[in-house]
């Protein structure tokens, strides 16, 4: 069982995000960068599969050279090795470039399952995994809150608006996992030490034969404007001295909803 987990490095989601007024892109400088917490669940899901059934987890990321830290974190959790696709030409790529780069980088490798997060915490478009599945001609099992693999098939509980669907696909397949699928493990000291010696292969666009087909040369869209949204105004705030419930009920009555 060989599992590939796609992981993204993002600015710490607990720090407020900033856009560069010039490039209209996320500011990455001076902000702590972390492995996307959503992708920790992907790594965890991969590790659980190979713990049940022998195999290896490879993590793959596209990003600046610093993104190797996110890969190391996944290696510290227990993943076996990493691939970092990094190239100045990939700066400010669209989701489709990420999908193209990952598809090209894993060509010729054997894998049973590719695991992604349902959406990145910073961009939250959730487009990359389906684009990757399309480029590779693979089925996509999306929004998994439960994943089981046996006898050449993957079966998931797929989140829906009012419950879930049980969905099956033959391997190899792409799966996107939701935060609810598992509790991601915290890297142990031993894992952190071992991660330092694990292999992380770095590749550029020409290494994967994508010159001119991804990144800046292949932008599908451009951000032209970013403006602060109109904020809602605060109303009255009262302290409850025994009258709080009454105030709310009066308010509801005034709104004619009771």
């Amino acid at each position: 069982m060989n599992v590939l987990v796609c992981v993204k490095q993002i600015p710490d989601p607990n720090a407020p995000g900033k856009l560069d007024p010039q490039t209209k892109r996320l500011v990455r400088e001076g902000v702590d960068l972390v492995l996307d917490p959503g992708d920790e669940h992907g790594v965890e899901a991969g590790l659980q599969l190979i713990e049940k059934d022998a195999g290896e987890v490879t993590v793959i990321s596209m990003g600046p050279p610093k993104a190797v830290d996110a890969i190391r974190r996944a290696l510290a959790m227990g993943a076996n090795r990493g691939i970092l696709i990094t190239d100045p030409a990939l700066e400010n790529s669209d989701a489709i470039s990420t999908a193209r780069a990952i598809a090209a980088a894993i060509k010729g490798q054997s894998y049973d399952l590719i695991i992604c997060g349902t959406e990145s915490t910073d961009g939250s478009s959730g487009a990359m995994p389906a684009q990757l599945a399309e480029l590779l001609g693979l089925p996509l099992l999306s929004f998994a809150k439960k994943l089981e693999v046996s006898q050449g098939k993957a079966v998931i509980d797929r989140q829906t608006d009012d419950g879930y669907d049980v969905v099956e696909a033959p391997l190899p397949a792409v799966v996107t996992v939701t935060g609810g699928i598992n509790e991601a493990r915290y890297p142990a000291l031993r894992g952190i030490m071992q991660a330092k010696n694990k292999e992380v292969r770095q590749v550029g666009l020409s290494d994967v034969g994508l010159d001119g087909q991804a990144g800046k040369a292949a932008l599908t869209q451009e951000v032209v404007d970013a403006t602060p949204a109109e904020a809602r105004k605060a109303g009255e705030v009262v302290e409850d001295k025994g009258e709080g419930a009454k105030r709310v009920a009066d308010f509801l009555k005034a709104l004619k909803v009771i």
Binding site: A133, P139, P228, A234, A249, L252
Partner: protein, 323 residues
């Protein structure tokens, strides 16, 4: 006029609410057409017409219901090549997201997600998407030839029937649906039943956060909701803790709601939560922390303990209803 298509998700022949929102937008931008797929889809044609679809493409093969994304992508790719629409809009739903994303990779055209508005600009399109929990509005323009694909968030547009809609031109497609390549197939569907109105449709929502302290305390929310004819929602903290299923979650990674009244109980008001509910007409919050960010957007805020106030509120509502 520009050709503007709407991916019209239907359930047993009934369009999902978001579809009517998308059509309302589409008809303002150009000649609107809808693509409705799956068993019973033809039953949706009249409604789609009422909301502005001049043309409705129907394909009733069960594969569109039972196989994820790929049959719809195959069909859309063929249709797009033949008819060359300028814009194809999808709801930012589970299905919409998968179909639009795959289609963008197939066609190599721009996909813009998380949108709340599309306007015309310089002979093309400008798409607005909120970022950072809705504090910033970002405008994106496509740079590719071929149709622009846009995923619009539910509740971003208010659905309104078209004034003078005639019956749409219905094109029933019967070309074979290929399912021989490896696909993701739905084996079974499970619904988690909730009583009362659906969150998306409710006029009043009573929503609980971690401040409720324990899952069993949601009982008082159920009681209050029953008195008000409200739906019950939850913050992600509550869903992550397993107190409520994900279908209750409101916010960036949950549902977007626009009720007349939203009552937030023991919810701090994190940006990722408020992005899903700040479109409510009126917001009421009860929180014991006077500094809780939810008070910055509440029309009425009460600083106090939910365990004390909610049971009293149930009594107050009962007594006012009795009068």
């Amino acid at each position: 006029m520009a050709g503007v298509w709407v991916f019209a998700e239907t359930v047993d022949g009934v369009p999902k609410p978001v579809v009517l929102e998308l059509l309302t937008k589409a008809r303002a931008l150009g000649d609107a057409a809808a693509i409705a797929l799956g068993p019973g889809a033809s039953k949706s044609a009249a409604t789609l017409g009422q909301y502005g679809a001049q043309k409705v493409y129907i394909h009733e093969d069960p594969a569109f219901r039972d196989v994820l994304a790929t049959p719809a992508v195959d069909l859309l790719a063929r249709l797009v090549e033949k008819e060359q629409p300028d814009l194809v809009i999808f709801g930012m739903t589970y299905e919409g997201r998968d179909v639009a994303s795959r289609l963008s990779a197939r066609l190599g055209t721009a996909l813009i997600a998380n949108a709340t508005d599309v306007t015309k600009r310089d002979g093309g399109w400008a798409i607005v998407s909120p970022m950072f929990g809705g504090s910033l509005l970002v405008t994106t323009v496509p740079k590719t030839k071929g149709p622009t694909l846009v995923l619009i968030r539910p509740k971003a547009v208010a659905a309104e029937p078209a004034g003078s809609a005639g019956a749409p031109d219905v094109q029933t497609l019967t070309d074979p649906v290929q399912t021989s390549k490896p696909v993701a197939r739905v084996l079974r569907r499970e619904t988690e039943k909730a009583s009362g109105p659906k969150l998306e449709d409710a006029t009043i929502i009573v929503s609980g956060g971690r401040g409720l302290g324990a899952p069993e305390n949601f009982k008082m929310l159920d009681e209050l909701a029953a008195e008000l004819g409200a739906a019950v929602g939850a913050s992600r903290a509550v869903v992550d803790a397993g107190w409520k299923p994900y279908s209750f979650q409101i916010g960036q990674t949950g549902k977007t709601v626009k009720p007349t009244v939203y009552i937030a109980l023991g919810i701090s008001g994190a940006m990722q939560h408020t992005v899903g509910m700040k479109g409510a007409r009126t917001i009421i919050a009860i929180n014991k922390d006077p500094e809780a960010p939810i008070f910055k957007l509440a029309d009425l805020g009460v600083v106090g303990d939910v365990h004390k106030i909610v049971p009293q509120l149930i009594q107050e509502v009962r007594s006012r209803k009795g009068k």
